[in-house]
C-alpha cells in the first residue's frame, strides 16, 4: 500500500510541476497549430510508453495498441504506394498510375513485359486464396515460389560473402618480417587470428565429443567467441544510451522547454 502512495505522490508532484511549467508560458500552447498539438501528443505518448518500465499498465496498453495499429497500417500504405503502384501496376497496366494517380510513368510498355509482370500478380492473388479456409493448399504454390527464390538467390550470396571472402581474408602470412626485422606483435596477432578462427570452427563442429583434444580446442574457440560477444556488448551500449538521450532531450527541450 505504501508503495502505491509513493507512486501517487510522485505522479502528483510531476503533474503539479507540469502545470506550473505550462502556465508560465515556457511550453508551446497545444492548441496553437497542428505541430504544437503534435508535440503534446508525442510527449504524452512518450511518457505513457516509459511507464512500461515500472509495470504493465493501462496507459502503456493504450500506447501499445495504438502503435500496433498505426505501424501495421503504415507499412501497408507504403507497400501499396511504393511497391504495388510503381512496381506492379506501372509494369502491367501503366495507364492506371499515369492517368489516375498523375504519375510520371511511361505508358509505352511492351506486351511481353506486361505479361511477365502478370506472374507476380497471379502469384500474389493466389496467395490471397488462403483467406478462404479451403484455399490453403493452393496458396502454398506462392509460398513454394518464394522459398525457391530465396534458396536460389541466397545460396551463392552466402557462399561468396561469408565463406569464400572470409577464407580469402584469412589466408595471410603467419610470421611477419618487415623492414629488415621480425615483428613480434604482428606475428602474434596473425597466429591468434588464425588459431582462434580454427578453434572457433571446431567449436561449431557437430561430430565432436566434448572431451579429449578436440574438446579443449573447441573450449578455446568458445572463449574467443565469448570475447567477441563481450566486445560487441561493450561497444554497443553507447548506441542504446544515445537513443534514451534523444528521447529525454525531446521531453526536456522540445516539450518542457528546459535547457
Amino acid at each position: 500500500m505504501t508503495r502505491r502512495l509513493i507512486v501517487a505522490i510522485i505522479a502528483l508532484t510531476l503533474l503539479l510541476m507540469l502545470l506550473i511549467r505550462a502556465s508560465s508560458g515556457a511550453m508551446v500552447n497545444p492548441f496553437m497549430d497542428y505541430e504544437s498539438l503534435g508535440k503534446w501528443v508525442a510527449a504524452v505518448l512518450t511518457l505513457c510508453t516509459l511507464s512500461f518500465l515500472y509495470s504493465d499498465n493501462p496507459f502503456y496498453r493504450f500506447c501499445e495498441h495504438v502503435l500496433v495499429g498505426v505501424t501495421a497500417a503504415y507499412w501497408m500504405v507504403l507497400g501499396f504506394w511504393r511497391t504495388i503502384v510503381p512496381k506492379l501496376l506501372a509494369n502491367v497496366v501503366p495507364e492506371i498510375p499515369a492517368y489516375f494517380f498523375n504519375m510520371d510513368t511511361p505508358v509505352t510498355v511492351s506486351l511481353i513485359h506486361r505479361l511477365i509482370y502478370c506472374v507476380p500478380l497471379g502469384l500474389g492473388l493466389l496467395l490471397l486464396v488462403r483467406l478462404h479456409p479451403r484455399g490453403r493448399s493452393i496458396s502454398a504454390w506462392t509460398l513454394a515460389f518464394i522459398l525457391g527464390t530465396t534458396a536460389g538467390l541466397r545460396l551463392f550470396g552466402h557462399l561468396e560473402a561469408d565463406f569464400m571472402a572470409q577464407i580469402q581474408n584469412s589466408i595471410t602470412p603467419l610470421v611477419s618480417v618487415a623492414e629488415g626485422g621480425f615483428n613480434l606483435g604482428r606475428t602474434f596477432n596473425a597466429f591468434l587470428i588464425t588459431g582462434g578462427l580454427v578453434c572457433c570452427l571446431f567449436y561449431f563442429y557437430f561430430s565432436r565429443d566434448s572431451d579429449g583434444a578436440l574438446g579443449r580446442v573447441s573450449k578455446f574457440g568458445l572463449w574467443i567467441l565469448m570475447l567477441t560477444f563481450g566486445a560487441g556488448f561493450g561497444f554497443t551500449v553507447m548506441g542504446r544510451i544515445a537513443l534514451l538521450v534523444g528521447r529525454v532531450e525531446f521531453l526536456l527541450q522540445d516539450w518542457l522547454g528546459f535547457i
Partner: protein, 293 residues
C-alpha cells in the same frame, strides 16, 4: 528460506532501482550540461581530413540511410557532414535507400542548409533525390547510370533535366563523385555502399554508423573505406575537430553530439558500477554458500 514470490519481488525491485539509476544518470547531466572534451581518434581524423581535402565544387554523394529510430546517433553526424561540406563549397547529392529516410533529408535541408547557408541553391548546389527502393541492386544500377537509378528528384523533376537541375550535368554514374559519405543506421548501409559503389567505382567512401553496426565494419577500414565514425562518440569527435578548424561554428546546434556525450559517459560509468556491485553481491553470496543467479 525465502519464498519464490518474495525472490521475484526482490528481483523486480532491484530491476526498478537499476532503471531509475539509468534515468537519473542520463537526465541529471543533461540538465546540468555536463560535457567532456573529446580526443579525436586517428580514424575520425582520417574521415575529417578526407572531407577537408575536397576541392571547392567537389561532387559529394551524401546518403541518409537512417530513420527517426536511429536519429539520436546518426543525425549529429549527418548535420556535421553537411556543415563541413558546405563550408568546403561542395555540391551535395542527398538520397536515401530507407523508406523512412526522406524525413531525415528534409530535416537537414530545413534546419541546416537553408538557415545556415542561404547561398546554397536547390538544383544548383544541392539536390534531394529522396527515397528509391531496391537496396543494393539500385546501387549497382547507379554504378553504371545514375539517372537510371534515380530517375527523378524528391519533387518529381527528372534528373536528366539539366536545365532545371544543373547540378546533374556533371553526374553520369557513381564514378562521377569525388566522395561518398554514408550515414548508416543499418541495412542497407555502409557495407552495401562499399561493396557495390565505392570498391567497383573506385570512389573514396567515408561513413558514420550506429555503434551496434560498427564492429562488422572494422574489416573494411582503411582499405575499402577511408574511415568511419563509430556511434555518437565518433560524431562527437568529428564535431570537436570541426569546431577546432572552424571556430565560427561555436554554436549550441553544432555541438549536439558533444553535449550528448555527457549523459553517455555518466550512464556508462553507472553500468560499470552495476557490474562491479553485481559481482560483489555474487561473490559475497557465494562465500556464504547461497549461490545467486
Amino acid at each position: 528460506m525465502v519464498s519464490l514470490a518474495e525472490l521475484a519481488r526482490e528481483r523486480l525491485a532491484g530491476r526498478r532501482l537499476i532503471y531509475l539509476c539509468i534515468l537519473l544518470s542520463v537526465t541529471v547531466p543533461m540538465i546540468w550540461k555536463i560535457s567532456f572534451k573529446e580526443h579525436a581518434s586517428p580514424m575520425v581524423k582520417n574521415v575529417f581530413d578526407q572531407v577537408e581535402s575536397l576541392p571547392p565544387g567537389a561532387r559529394v554523394l551524401l546518403v541518409f540511410d537512417f530513420d527517426p529510430g536511429t536519429e539520436p546517433e546518426i543525425k549529429p553526424m549527418s548535420d556535421a557532414f553537411t556543415r563541413h561540406l558546405c563550408l568546403k563549397g561542395a555540391k551535395l547529392y542527398c538520397l536515401t535507400l530507407w523508406p523512412t529516410g526522406p524525413v531525415e533529408i528534409d530535416k537537414v535541408i530545413r534546419n541546416v542548409l537553408t538557415p545556415e547557408f542561404p547561398d546554397y541553391y536547390y538544383g544548383a548546389d544541392y539536390i534531394n533525390l529522396g527515397f528509391v527502393s531496391g537496396d543494393e541492386a539500385i546501387i549497382a544500377v547507379a554504378l553504371t547510370s545514375f539517372q537510371k537509378a534515380f530517375p527523378t528528384d524528391a519533387h518529381n523533376i527528372s534528373t536528366s533535366d539539366t536545365k532545371r537541375l544543373p547540378i546533374m550535368k556533371w553526374v553520369e554514374n557513381i564514378r562521377s563523385f569525388n566522395l561518398i559519405i554514408e550515414c548508416s543506421g543499418g541495412y542497407p548501409g555502409l557495407p552495401e555502399w562499399i561493396r557495390y559503389a565505392a570498391v567497383p567505382g573506385g570512389v573514396p567512401i567515408v561513413g558514420g554508423s550506429v555503434a551496434v553496426g560498427t564492429p562488422e565494419l572494422f574489416p573494411y577500414v582503411p582499405d575499402q573505406c577511408v574511415g568511419l565514425l563509430a556511434g555518437l562518440k565518433g560524431a562527437a569527435e568529428y564535431e570537436q575537430l570541426l569546431l577546432e578548424r572552424y571556430p565560427l561554428l561555436e554554436r549550441p546546434e553544432c555541438r549536439v553530439a558533444l553535449d550528448r556525450m555527457g549523459p553517455q559517459t555518466v550512464a556508462h560509468l553507472a553500468i560499470i558500477l552495476f557490474i562491479i556491485i553485481g559481482n560483489g553481491i555474487y561473490l559475497s553470496q557465494k562465500r556464504r554458500g547461497r549461490v545467486g543467479t
